[in-house]
Amino acid sequence: MVEPILSVEKLDVSFSTFEGLAHVLSKVTFKINHKEVFALVGETGCGKTVTALSIIKLLPRNSYVQGRIIFNGRNILELKESDMVEVRGKSMAMILQDPSSSLNPMFKVGEQLCDAITSNDPNIKEPKRYALELLSKVGFKDTERVFNSYPNELSGGMQQRVAISISLTGKPTLLIADEPTTALDVLTQAQIIQLLKQVRDTYSTSVLLITHNLGLVATLCDRVGIMYFGQVVEIGPTYDLFYNTKHPYTKGLLQSLPYNKLKNQTLPTIPGDLPSPLSPPSGCRFYPRCPRSNESCSKDVPEILPITDKHYVACFNPLSGDE
């Protein structure tokens, strides 16, 4: 069996706040294989971004992290900051949600790109030539003009492509994309999806996609992990997850989408609100909102267990196939 690029094992993250310790992640476990697009899906505040930040080790100082994150055979959590500099931006890169705020408005695109290139490899002689090459790889035809423009002169989609080209400077083996298309409209989103696929194929990069857009997941990803309130509740190949849904929360998310539903229909919703991370419910964290919960759900925390060899679910009463 081939070693996965990244494997996160029982990751616990909590933050100390004025009101006490907030448990944000508990026992998050998943892995990403070579050349795979893996999506983490969940609602706002479920811990998707915290997972990403712990992988790239950019969590704020008031955080407590436990568990193991193995990346290329090394435990990221034990690395010193000086060693992490070698990993971050080179073998592991990140694309942020809003390209207009992740690029520096004071510098030309070319300068920012050359900066990234020379900091990754100070020996490179002609950073500009490499930069132009990267820009053409992300789909620009007029590379010289883009090289000399300021970010505000480019559209949202173009800015995001520049951001992707910057993340590619170190030829990363893992690309973390935190909601890369949320700020973009449909046609530009489609272009970015195609670009990410292309990047995966040409650079043999694995992608960790963080999103709440299930449409994006269905079109782009190989495997999906569904997160609810700091826990991964279901992991599986995209097809299985959409057509053989096991966890009631996943089902709830899929049913609440308005696609292919007619006006005057009432959309099924998940009742209740997210609990507070300061006082999580005992037992399964989804049980207060779950239509299938029974007594055991409030007492014990369900472990994430395999249903088939690739499909895992953390639920005492998973849905059967035909429901």
């Binding site: 609602e43 449909v186 449409g215 269905a218 609440s256 696609y259 539903k261 006006k263």
Partner: protein, 322 residues
């Protein structure tokens, strides 16, 4: 009589390139006409910068259109007297995209919702209080939320507050400018359900602005597709999504990622055409895969192809349709 009718509305801006540069005409909204009946929803779809929000601002009379007329129950907005305008502003309300920026963080929910009521109505304290509680109940909140601040509520709850503020004066039309795009899918579903319910209860009309065709389809009776300040296709929502005619609508539909791993998105690849001989032809020509000679010369007009289904495209009307 339609509730609101827009006739040949345009909004043009001038942009200067540099301080001494030449003025350049930007047609944010160009010669558009439509009407909304009472109790129906009109979906407005288009990419960023196509003029959706400018059109909404014209309807709210936050800006005046450069030319054309907007009729409210048959009366021209630009000729209304101030009392009539007060009445108009009461009848047309807006809900914005991001509830965290559209609600004042220094005001309690009580103040936010009571502000329009106090401005427009003479009402005493006890009546105001019962009215506030009633409004919150209608949108699915309760009186415990009254003394809270927006930052204490979640995104979905804040959007409910914004909706409560919009319906406080019993409006007839609410303009919804991407009301769910900042929200999670499960919260989006509750807001969409709420909007449908309110429409039935109060016979409201909506203009729903979005770039998500899936959401627009769910909520709208009619859909207008906008491109670069112009309407390119307009018709009943099932027609537009079931049998799209304009190449741009088709592109949008093919690019929409559906939550179904069996379906793949498609991006119609097109060569950018050289536009040297482009003089006022079709606005979509640059991206159109089917551009013809005629498209370069003349601008297509909206033609009724099927019942109530209009399209502005020479290829669709005259060309060989596959």
């Amino acid at each position: 009589m339609p509730l609101i009718e827009a006739k040949n509305v345009s909004k043009h801006y001038y942009k200067r390139k540099g301080f001494f540069g030449k003025k350049e005409l930007i047609k944010a909204v160009d010669n558009v006409s439509f009407s909304i009946e009472k109790g129906t929803t009109l979906g407005l779809v288009g990419e960023t910068g196509c003029g959706k929000t400018t059109l909404a601002k014209c309807l709210l009379r936050l800006i005046n259109p450069t030319s054309g007329a907007i009729l409210f129950k048959g009366k021209d907005l630009s000729k209304m007297k101030s009392e009539e305008l007060d009445d108009y502003h009461r009848s047309v309300q807006i809900v914005f995209q991001n509830p965290f920026t559209s609600l004042n963080p220094r005001m309690t929910i009580r103040n936010i919702i009571s502000e329009p009521i106090i401005t427009h109505k003479k009402i005493n304290k006890t009546e105001l209080e019962t009215e506030l509680v009633r409004l919150l109940k209608v949108v699915g909140l309760n009186e415990t939320h009254l003394s809270r601040y927006p930052h204490e509520l979640s995104g979905g709850q804040n959007q409910r507050v914004a909706i409560a503020r919009a319906i406080a004066l019993n409006p007839e039309l609410i303009i919804l400018d991407e009301p769910t795009s900042a929200l999670d899918v499960s919260v989006q579903a509750t807001i969409l359900n709420l909007l449908n319910e309110l429409q039935k209860q109060f016979n409201l009309s909506y203009i729903f602005i979005s770039h998500d065709l899936g959401v627009v389809r769910f909520i709208s009776d009619y859909i207008i597709v906008m491109y670069s300040g112009k309407f390119v296709e307009m018709g009943p929502s099932e027609d537009i999504l079931g049998q799209p005619l304009h190449p741009y609508t088709k592109m949008l539909l093919l690019a929409l990622p559906l939550p179904d791993p069996k379906k793949k998105i498609e991006l119609i690849q097109h060569q950018m055409k050289a536009l040297e001989d482009w003089r006022g032809g079709c606005v979509f020509l640059q991206k159109c895969p089917y551009g013809m000679e005629l498209c370069k010369k003349e601008e297509p007009e909206m033609v009724e192809v099927r019942e109530k289904h209009f399209v502005a495209c020479y290829y669709t009307i005259k060309g060989d349709r596959r």
